[in-house]
């Protein structure tokens, strides 16, 4: 954001105001600025393949187009945008709840059981390769961990750590007090840590550190 301001590009709010007045270029700018982040948020939030996530992405930006007149430019644009994205994701999750719960147990179990074995193999590799593999491995664990977070923890965690929104904004988007956002964020971290410990990562890391 600050980078954009320095380059004298319009802020999101200005761009949105211009779009409201019929400037299509302003919409293209907003699309360019936020489409990737929203897609990322969707994919983390509802854990679907890219094609499905893009469908949702399109729906969300269609809502931006449809509801452009309703947007109050005094409000932060990202708050408005992420509120719509988050609501759409929650609706999607509600609709997909059964499928999601039945399909999620299996990968989690295999992941936890396979984890240590893979880590052993990883340790035997060269350092560069090892790090690459470690990163890949860690990301898999992280993704699994995020997937298995409860919805309210997950959205807060994603908005904070991946989308880098402020706690205040997250409170607005999720419609809860900042204190609740903080505690949810802490629970999210603690849950993820548990998963990493279960995967044997932090024990190993600790040992490595210790050594």
């Amino acid at each position: 954001m600050t980078d954009l301001a320095e380059k004298k590009e319009p802020t999101d709010e200005e761009a949105m105001a211009r779009f409201q007045n019929g400037d299509v270029g302003a919409f293209d700018f907003l699309l360019h600025q936020h489409s990737a982040a929203i897609l990322r948020f969707i994919m983390n939030m509802v854990t679907v393949n890219k094609s499905n996530a893009e469908d949702l992405l399109q729906e969300i930006f269609m809502k931006v187009i449809e509801n452009r007149k309703k947007y109050d430019s005094n409000r932060k644009f990202t708050t408005w945008l992420y509120t719509m994205a988050r609501n759409r994701c929650i609706d999607y999750l509600k609709a997909e709840k059964h499928r999601r719960y039945s399909s999620l147990d299996a990968p989690l179990n295999s992941e936890t059981s396979d984890g240590p074995v893979k880590l052993e193999i990883v340790r035997s590799k060269e350092k560069n390769q090892e790090e690459k593999m470690m990163n890949k491995e860690i990301r898999a664990i992280l993704n699994t961990g995020v997937e298995n977070l409860k919805e309210e923890f997950r959205e807060v965690f994603l908005l904070r750590e991946i989308e880098s929104l402020s706690l205040k904004e997250i409170a607005d988007i999720t419609n809860v007090p900042i204190g609740t956002v903080k505690s949810r964020l802490r629970y999210a971290y603690l849950n993820l840590r548990e998963i990493f410990i279960q995967a044997g990562y932090f024990e190993e890391g600790q040992i490595a550190k210790g050594v």
Binding site: V24, S35, R40, E54, K182
Partner: protein, 366 residues
């Protein structure tokens, strides 16, 4: 600071939103508690992983599609509202329904109208068409009227063709029924109407509040006041029909009247008859057949009614000339004298002729 208190501040610490007053306490605790410092390291590790994570970019097709949709939506803003309406699927059904309604309202019910005036009209028509006692749909009134009539004029319904021959041959038998009803009934019916006029108030006072009765009363009033002539006609008809009750005798009567009127003159003459006669006489005179001409002209003059003066004049002239030619001077003179009287234009000629004949006769006598 214990570990529980630290955990509450953990997020603030990681996020850098911790109160300056708490920073020292947290640092102190972290230095003392290996467990908590490990947690912070792990959280930072997680964050590092997350930030190093790569995520797919949305495909350009999606972005292009969204951009196009936005363009189209903005163009809709510039479309005037009536064009939106013009192309909307609402317009066609609304217009067609409106058109159908318009046609229906303006044309649909023209033949059948049920206004209050029409109700009056139809009642009037019925009152005219039907004998009073046969008027339908006024149950109470009708019975009352009938009994009233019966007490005044004797049994009326008994004269009605209640046991009339069944309507076997449609129109014809209906006509017959009509004639019987007419010949049998008109007088009582008329009297009944007259009686009604007098007793109307009494009869209808009970039912005055009913609309239908008002209508009927109106109809009766009109009927009672309006057709005096009709009544006379009826009387005449009754009189003539009284002579012979059937249609056959009526026709005979008519023929008799016709014959009677023809008796005084066995021939009827028109203008052309006089003209033909005169032409024949003149033609006979020209041909030299004076006797025939005289006969024809005298017949002409003897016709009743007598011919017009110009025709008479021509006949007298012709006669005069014929008698003169034949040497019957006296008759010629008398005819010329008649000509002189009747035709002022030829009076001079007639006088001249008479003087000429007298001179001739004087010469002949001398």
């Amino acid at each position: 600071m214990n570990c529980e208190k630290f955990e509450e501040l953990l997020i603030d610490f990681i996020e850098g939103e911790i109160e300056p007053s708490d920073i020292e306490l947290v640092k102190k605790h972290l230095a003392a508690c290996q467990n908590c410092s490990k947690k912070v390291d792990e959280f930072k590790e997680i964050r590092k992983v997350i930030n190093g994570d790569t995520h797919p970019e949305p495909s350009p097709e999606i972005l292009a599609r969204l951009s196009r949709i936005a363009r189209e939506e903005l163009e809709k803003d510039n479309v005037p509202f009536w064009r939106k309406w013009f192309y909307s699927p609402i317009l066609v059904p609304v217009l067609s329904t409106g058109l159908a309604l318009f046609i229906w309202i303006s044309n649909g019910q023209k033949d059948v109208e049920y206004g209050p005036d029409d109700a009056i009209y139809s009642t009037k028509v019925m009152a005219k068409k039907m004998p009073m006692a046969q008027e339908p749909n006024f149950p109470g009134v009708r019975e009352e009227a009938v009994s009233n009539l019966e007490s005044n004029q004797g049994p009326l319904l008994s004269e009605e063709p209640v046991s009339a021959p069944p309507l076997a041959s449609g129109k014809k038998s209906r006509i017959e029924e009509g004639t019987t009803a007419r010949s049998g009934e008109p007088a009582p019916a008329k009297e009944m109407i007259a009686g009604r006029g007098v007793k109307e108030d009494h009869e209808y006072s009970r039912h005055r509040d009913e609309f239908s009765d008002k209508l009927e009363a109106k109809a009766i009033e009109e009927r009672a006041s309006e057709p005096k002539i009709e009544a006379e006609e009826e009387a005449f008809e009754v009189g003539s029909l009284a002579k012979g009750r059937s249609g056959e005798t009526e026709v005979q009567g008519f023929q008799e009247v016709k014959q009677r009127s023809n008796i005084p003159t066995s021939y009827t003459y028109t203008e052309t008859t006089y003209k033909d006669k005169l032409d024949l006489g003149l033609k006979q005179q020209k041909e030299g057949n004076c006797e025939a001409s005289i006969k024809t002209n005298e017949e002409l003059l003897n016709l009743t009614p007598p011919p017009t003066d110009p025709v008479k004049g021509k006949a007298y002239l012709s006669l005069g000339e014929c008698y003169e030619q034949m040497g019957e001077w006296e008759k010629a003179v008398s005819n010329y004298k008649n000509l002189e009287e009747i035709s002022p234009e030829q009076a001079a000629f007639a006088v001249e002729k008479i003087e000429y004949i007298r001179r001739q006769t004087r010469l002949l006598k001398q």
